[in-house]
Symmetry: C2
């Protein structure tokens, strides 16, 4: 059977996106066909605009459409505390807490020798350059609690401590609202070790 080329083409394009399988790609493609002209215009414009306008913040390497990202550009934020994260989604997660008032540094990955990713592929140089500012008091390592995130945090801590800046790591423990029964043993062990007086 000959295929309807523009439709197959669109399905293929959706299939290339992360987490979209063949069935989802089909569903998305059929949805596109049912959209109005204006909706199509808005959608493609949003894709193009985000792609062309967004780049890294000069200071923290987070994504922004300006010279500085909204956090670095905010004089109310405490520039003396830098929270080091793997990617922009992590920044969004911390911002949703509405409590953290420091700034961020986005590594855009973790050190991963198996995948050939070394410190030079991350924004480590930019982080060290920021620390020459004497106002920086503390760097919080907020890489993911995985082997690679852990190794990256240790690597960076070794670089930063000699500069006389305090380095801390996110607390490990049982997630709020979770059921202890389903927590893995490492998490429980860490939660025990980090127990606090009440």
């Amino acid at each position: 059977m000959k295929k309807v080329v523009p439709l197959q083409n669109l399905i293929t394009q959706f299939e290339r996106l992360p987490g979209i399988g063949h069935k989802s790609a089909q569903r998305l493609a059929f949805h596109v066909l049912s959209m109005t002209d204006t909706q199509i215009e808005d959608f493609t414009a949003a894709v193009r605009e985000a792609h062309s306008k967004i780049h890294r913040c000069e200071k923290c390497c987070d994504l922004t459409d300006d010279v500085l990202c909204p956090v670095c550009d905010d004089p109310e934020r405490d520039a003396g505390t830098i929270c080091v994260v793997e990617n922009s989604r992590d920044v969004m997660a911390f911002e949703r807490t509405h409590e953290y008032n420091g700034v961020y540094h986005v590594l855009h990955g973790v050190i991963s020798p198996l995948n050939g990713i070394g410190p030079e592929d991350l924004t480590v140089k930019e982080l060290i350059a920021r620390l020459s500012d004497t106002s920086v008091k503390e760097v919080i390592m907020a890489t993911n609690p995985t082997a690679e995130g852990e190794a990256t945090a240790v690597f960076l801590a070794r670089l930063i401590k000699p500069l006389g800046i305090e380095v801390s790591r996110l607390a490990y423990g049982v997630p709020v609202g979770a059921d202890l029964e389903y927590a893995d043993e490492f998490t429980l062990l860490k939660a025990m070790e980090g127990r606090q007086k009440i």
Copy 2:
């Protein structure tokens, strides 16, 4: 915190697509940022092109970018057997069997009084018009085995039978490869009723 507008905009656009929640929309948006200029060009062009070029086949109402869809346009297909389906995805599903050699008729929905969808909202008129062609021998009802799909099949069968055309319905039974233990009682009952000698 101020937001990065083009990024938020893109996330919102992805969230409007079916089956895409906030987290998936974020992941897709960040993926878009990591795409090359050419990939963005190809993606947006595919969206626009599919949307502007695809319309209904003059005969079977399936989607096509031509006057007739590839199936109706194929002289090898048996135009005397029409398989009535709810939507284009169902056509694709039958085509994947590589066995069915008749043609299709796409209803673009099912009769659903609860949702205010009557026969006039479907391509029923177009189906009846096709049946004036004396070469049509059989109409196979391949709407989904749901209450609404069933009701639509019965409704159409009542319209078509008086024209002296054979009307059939897809067989019910246990899906190939399924575990009987998990089959619901209606399916098992239908499978019993429809049992065949071996």
